[in-house]
Amino acid sequence: QKEVEQDPGPLSVPEGAIVSLNCTYSNSAFQYFMWYRQYSRKGPELLMYTYSSGNKEDGRFTAQVDKSSKYISLFIRDSQPSDSATYLCAMRDLANFNKFYFGSGTKLNVKP
């Protein structure tokens, strides 16, 4: 079983739609949860970061963590064609601060 599972997509939505991206994980020790955005042929860039459970909002982006279900989500409101990219979730525990576990990424396409 993979440490982190993520639906690869692709997910295709019309401009302005609300997008929901999700990851599940198996290691209950994970405490830090991140979402990265990766444009084609580029390196990942950090979008959102949350510690433990709860919600975090940044502009059109909301990250949610449900530790009881081992499930994290990224919501994108009013999606734009410029949001078209692959979204990777990543997480780590307190002990292994240099060890990040990445999901395989979900490819999102926002159609104008």
């Binding site: 690869p8 042929r41 580029k42 390196g43 990942p44 240099n98 990445f102 990424g105």
Partner: protein
């Protein structure tokens, strides 16, 4: 600031050849990392370094070696290239290990081993 730079952008190797993937950062970050990204598999940590002269293995270190003689540079060495090492390689750096520990990624090196 250039951030994290990687060279070359692309490379084709024959089985058994060796090469060094270069990585440099100008942000004075202590922590540096090498990942490989295979299609549908996410990023896997190969090696990391917490400072000049200190390196440690990640999840998939076999077939690779690293060195960290300066804060800025963290080259990755492939000694005997194998087709299983065909991948996209990303170098990353971060200022610290605790808390957020945001990693800044380079643009990647696409390596094909034939």
């Amino acid at each position: 600031n250039a951030g994290v730079t990687q060279t070359p952008k692309f490379r084709i190797l024959k089985i058994g050849q060796s090469m060094t993937l270069q990585c440099a950062q100008d942000m004075n970050h202590n922590y540096m990392y090498w990942y490989r990204q295979d299609p549908g598999m996410g990023l896997k940590l190969i090696y990391y370094s917490v400072g000049a002269g200190i390196t440690d293995k990640g999840e998939v270190p076999n077939g690779y070696n690293v060195s960290r003689s300066t804060t800025e540079d963290f080259p990755l060495r492939l000694e005997l290239a194998a087709p299983s090492q065909t991948s996209v390689y990303f170098c990353a750096s971060s200022l610290e290990a605790g808390g957020n520990n945001e990693q800044f990624f380079g643009p990647g090196t696409r390596l094909t081993v034939l």
